[in-house]
C-alpha cells in the first residue's frame, strides 16, 4: 500500500485542533489483522497490543484492527501473501494455533512465506463444562470418554485436528484412550471460544477445549465450570483457584503463545524497527498488567530468535500431530 507520511495540510483533524504526534520510526505499525471474528484470542491480541502501541506513542494516531476470519488464519495468511507482502505498517496476530495449521500443511505456504516479528506472552489451554453439567471433575469426564468416546461432543475454536482439538486428544490419550479410538470422539468447530461456550450453555455440545484468554469472562461470571488448566503450575490470580490437569494426575500441558508476523517482502530495516517497537511495548508495565488481566504469562522472543522458535514450534506440533494420527 503506497502510503506516505508527509504531513497533510488541511487535514480536518488539524483544523479541529488535534495535533499529530511525531513518530520515532520511519514506518510505525498502524494496522493489525486479527484472523478471526471479534471476541477471540487473536482479536484480543491485536486490540490490546494495538491500543498499547497508541498509548505508548509508538505509532501515529491509532492502530486499526481488521478482522479477517476464515480457515483458522489461512485467509489472512493468503491475503497478506498475495496482496500485502511488502506492507511494513501491517502486522498479523498468530499463535501456536497458527503453527499447528502450518505444521499440517493447511496454510497456502510455509513459515518462510512470512517474516516473524515477536511473541509477547503465552495463553494456556482449559477444559470447560457448563456449570450444570454432570461432569464434576476431569477424572469423571475422561473416564466417560475412555468408556465410550462417541458419547461426548467436544467443541473449540480450531478445526478438527487443530490445536484446541489436539490438546483435548492428548488428555484423552493420557487417560488411556487407545489410539484407534481417537477418531470416535466428536469434535465441533466454532468461530471462537465465546460462541463455543454459548453453544455449550445451550446444551448443543458437552465440553469446550480452548484458551483461557478466550473465555475468561465466562469463567469469572461463573457460567462455566473449569475441569482442568493445561499449565505446569497453577496460574496467578485471579485464576489461581482453577485446578491444573497435572495436579489431577494427567501429565498434559498445552500452551498457546501469542505473537505477530508481517509480510515476507518487508525490508530488513522496517522489520528491525517493527521488532524494536514490540520489544519496547513488551518491556512496559502496561503490557504486564494487560497480560495478567487476561490470563497471559508475559514471555518475549523477537526477531531472529523468534523466527527459529517458530520453525521449532512447527516441527514439534508436526510430531505430535503424527503421533495422534491427524496427519500421516
Amino acid at each position: 500500500m503506497p502510503f506516505s507520511l508527509k504531513p497533510r495540510i488541511g487535514l480536518p483533524l488539524l483544523a479541529l485542533g488535534l495535533g499529530l504526534s511525531s513518530t520515532v520510526n520511519a514506518v510505525p505499525i498502524d494496522e493489525c489483522i486479527a484472523p478471526a471474528d471479534p471476541g477471540g484470542g487473536w482479536d484480543f491480541t491485536c486490540r490490546s497490543v494495538g491500543k498499547l502501541l497508541t498509548d505508548l506513542e509508538l505509532t501515529d494516531g491509532t492502530v486499526q484492527v481488521t478482522n479477517m476470519p476464515g480457515g483458522v488464519g489461512a485467509v489472512a495468511f493468503s491475503n497478506v501473501a498475495a496482496k500485502r507482502a511488502d506492507d511494513s505498517d501491517l502486522m498479523v496476530a498468530t499463535s501456536t494455533v497458527g503453527m499447528t495449521q502450518i505444521a499440517q500443511g493447511r496454510y497456502p505456504g510455509g513459515a518462510e512465506t512470512m517474516r516473524w516479528l515477536a511473541m509477547l506472552g503465552t495463553d494456556v489451554g482449559v477444559i470447560l463444562v457448563d456449570d450444570e453439567s454432570e461432569y464434576e471433575s476431569l477424572e469423571q469426564l475422561l473416564e466417560a470418554i475412555v468408556a465410550d468416546p462417541s458419547s461426548v461432543a467436544v467443541a473449540g475454536s480450531s478445526g478438527a485436528g487443530g490445536w484446541d482439538h489436539i490438546r483435548a486428544l492428548m488428555l484423552a490419550k493420557a487417560a488411556g484412550l487407545p489410539g484407534d479410538q481417537v477418531g470416535a470422539l466428536r469434535w465441533v468447530q466454532f468461530d471462537g471460544g465465546g460462541p463455543a461456550v454459548t453453544q455449550m450453555m445451550g446444551n448443543h455440545v458437552d465440553v469446550v477445549s480452548t484458551d483461557l484468554g478466550e473465555v475468561a469472562g465466562f469463567i469469572e461470571s461463573g457460567d462455566v465450570r473449569v475441569l482442568g488448566v493445561l499449565s505446569e503450575d497453577p496460574l496467578p490470580a485471579p485464576f489461581d483457584q482453577l485446578p491444573t490437569a497435572v495436579s489431577q494426575g494427567y501429565d498434559v500441558t498445552g500452551y498457546n503463545w501469542r505473537g505477530f508476523y508481517t509480510g515476507g517482502d518487508v525490508s530488513d530495516d522496517d522489520y528491525a524497527s517493527m521488532v524494536e517497537d514490540l520489544e519496547t511495548l513488551y518491556a512496559s508495565d502496561q503490557w504486564k498488567e494487560v497480560a495478567a488481566q487476561n490470563g497471559l504469562v508475559p514471555l518475549w522472543r523477537g526477531g531472529d530468535e523468534f523466527s527459529s522458535f517458530v520453525v521449532e514450534s512447527i516441527e514439534r506440533v508436526e510430531a505430535i500431530s503424527r503421533e495422534i494420527g491427524v496427519i500421516q
Binding site: 497533510r8 487535514l11 483533524l13 478445526g159 477418531g183 491427524v326
Partner: protein, 161 residues
C-alpha cells in the same frame, strides 16, 4: 429488476428460446464442472461432512434446474442493439483500464482522466464532461483521503516526500 410489468404492457419482454437455452447449457456445464471438481477436495481428519459435500449438494439442484431451463425456456428482456453494446463495451474497457493504471499513476491523475472520459461516455458534452469529471475526481479525493481518512494511492513519482 424492472421486469415487473405485465406481459402485454412490456414491449421489451419476449419468449427467448435461444438466450435461455444458452444460459441453461452454460449453467448445466458449470454445475457438472463444480460437481466433478468437488471430488478433488481432500476430506480432512475426522470430518463426517467433507469440504466437497456442500458444493455437490448445491450443484445438484443447479444442474437439474438448468436442464429444465434448457428444455423449457422462458422469457428474456430485449438484448441491446449494436450501438448500445458498443457503449457498454467502451465503458467496461475504460473501467478495466482505469483499474489497471490506478496504482501505477496514482489516484488523482488516473481518476481525472477516467472521470472525464466516463462522464463523456455517459452522454455529457465535452465541456460538461471536463468540469464534472474534474469535480468528481477532486471531490472524491478530498472526501476519502481527508474526510474519511482512507488513504488512496499517491502519485508514485512524487513519492513519500
Amino acid at each position: 429488476m424492472s421486469h415487473t410489468d405485465d406481459l402485454e404492457l412490456n414491449h421489451d419482454r419476449r419468449p427467448a428460446p435461444v438466450g435461455d437455452r444458452i444460459a441453461g447449457a452454460v449453467l448445466l456445464l458449470l454445475a457438472l464442472g463444480a460437481w466433478w471438481h468437488s471430488h478433488s477436495f481432500v476430506t480432512g481428519f475426522m470430518q463426517p461432512v467433507g469440504p466437497g459435500a456442500f458444493p455437490r449438494l448445491v450443484s445438484l439442484p443447479l444442474g437439474v434446474l438448468s436442464a429444465y431451463l434448457l428444455f423449457r425456456p422462458g422469457f428474456n428482456e430485449r438484448w441491446p442493439d449494436r450501438a448500445g453494446l458498443a457503449r457498454q463495451l467502451a465503458v467496461l474497457l475504460l473501467l478495466a483500464a482505469y483499474a489497471g493504471v490506478l496504482e501505477a499513476l496514482g489516484f488523482l491523475p488516473a481518476t481525472l482522466v477516467g472521470a472525464v472520459l466516463l462522464t463523456r461516455l455517459f452522454g455529457a458534452r465535452w465541456q460538461q464532461a471536463m468540469v464534472a469529471g474534474t469535480g468528481l475526481a477532486v471531490g472524491l479525493y478530498v472526501l476519502f483521503e481527508f474526510g474519511l481518512g482512507m488513504p488512496l494511492p499517491n502519485v508514485p513519482w512524487w513519492g513519500a516526500a
